[in-house]
Symmetry: C2
Subunit: 209 residues, 2 copies
């Protein structure tokens, strides 16, 4: 197995934290997104979509998308379970991970990619260039604020997002909160449940991954 | 179990087709998105995010997000498997389902919600109103065209998206292709692999669900 990572990027960090929680370390190749290495001919041969994370298996299978890689790793390294235990638990992890990604992570990406000077033609990931839409950066910020409200409300009912235990959903959501600081969005001071949870997640050794 | 659906909407259709493939029929409540029933007080008590599909379990657990609902249904009704069999197969289904949703389904939603006259203030799902961004509709169309290319390329190597068998990834991708016709985007005539696959999927009895 070989893990294609970029140590500074939030998306592969979901896999790094997942691996750290499992206590697993994989042979890792760094792909330098800052210099555009993901667009190189050699990386396109590995992943034509030009994204990280990627997990290349020994049989030649190439897995992209953080959630798909983590699903594979959960089967190979089942302990501790991070994708849920019984049918209901697995569904709640999938639900909250999906909400964290679509309502949170993609909103931060939308804000970041549509307003960062160095990304003028890189508003969408992938091979081809895409121009920025400044209004979309503003919408992204508004969606981040709504997402903080959703998290704060949920975490008033539950220790972690999918229930009493730390799971993949907490990984995606906490990396989203950290990523939001890239566009100067922080948890509002009155969001006590969210602040309590984020402090707890930050204390886990995996958070530094 | 109770399934909250909207018979005309593409997002809950992923669950309808999944159930049809399993040969399962659940007690179903129709939520009329056209008249805004998802924003009513009574529906907010079920799902504060005001979206369908929703699966309400007998113990009171509420599952939202099509992929999370299907994950639950796969555990309860394992045959035929639609989320993969072994670790690699499960990862490939998760990967292609995720790509179909983020690169395809969300791109169509982006185009549709940002240009449809009746949705002027409803460019993002949820309780609060959000104004349209016309430039984003154009970007959505460009992303749909790129997604058709991705599908056509993949389906040159494989009978179905995640391998030799029909899975959830094909459900999400085929519903995305059907949804794209709402914004007048059709599979380009030269995309022979994609056309062959779409014809095969349309012939399945579940496609009408």
């Amino acid at each position: 197995m070989k893990f294609y990572d970029c140590a500074t990027a939030p998306s592969p960090r979901r896999v790094r934290v997942f691996l750290a929680e499992k206590g697993v370390s994989l042979p890792t190749v760094q792909v330098d997104l800052m210099s555009g290495e993901q667009l190189s001919e050699s990386f396109r041969e590995i992943n034509p979509a030009c994204t990280v994370p990627v997990l290349a298996l020994d049989d030649g299978t190439v897995i992209t998308e953080a959630i798909a890689i983590c699903r594979y790793l959960e089967d190979v390294y089942p302990e501790p379970p991070l994708l849920g235990i019984d049918a209901t638990g697995k569904a709640l992890v999938a639900m909250w991970d999906h909400r964290a990604e679509v309502e949170g992570f993609l909103a931060v990406s939308e804000a970041f990619r549509n307003e960062t000077k160095g990304l003028k033609e890189r508003a969408v990931t992938g091979v081809e260039n895409t121009a920025q839409i400044p209004e979309l950066a503003a919408r992204g910020r508004m969606r981040i604020a709504r997402f903080f409200d959703v998290l704060n409300s949920r975490l008033g009912d539950s220790a972690f997002l999918a229930g009493p235990h730390f799971t993949m959903a907490d990984i995606t959501a906490s990396i989203t909160v950290a990523f939001a600081s890239w566009v100067k969005m922080e948890i509002p001071a009155g969001h006590a449940n969210l602040l309590r949870w984020y402090d707890a997640v930050k204390e886990r050794p995996s958070f530094g991954a």
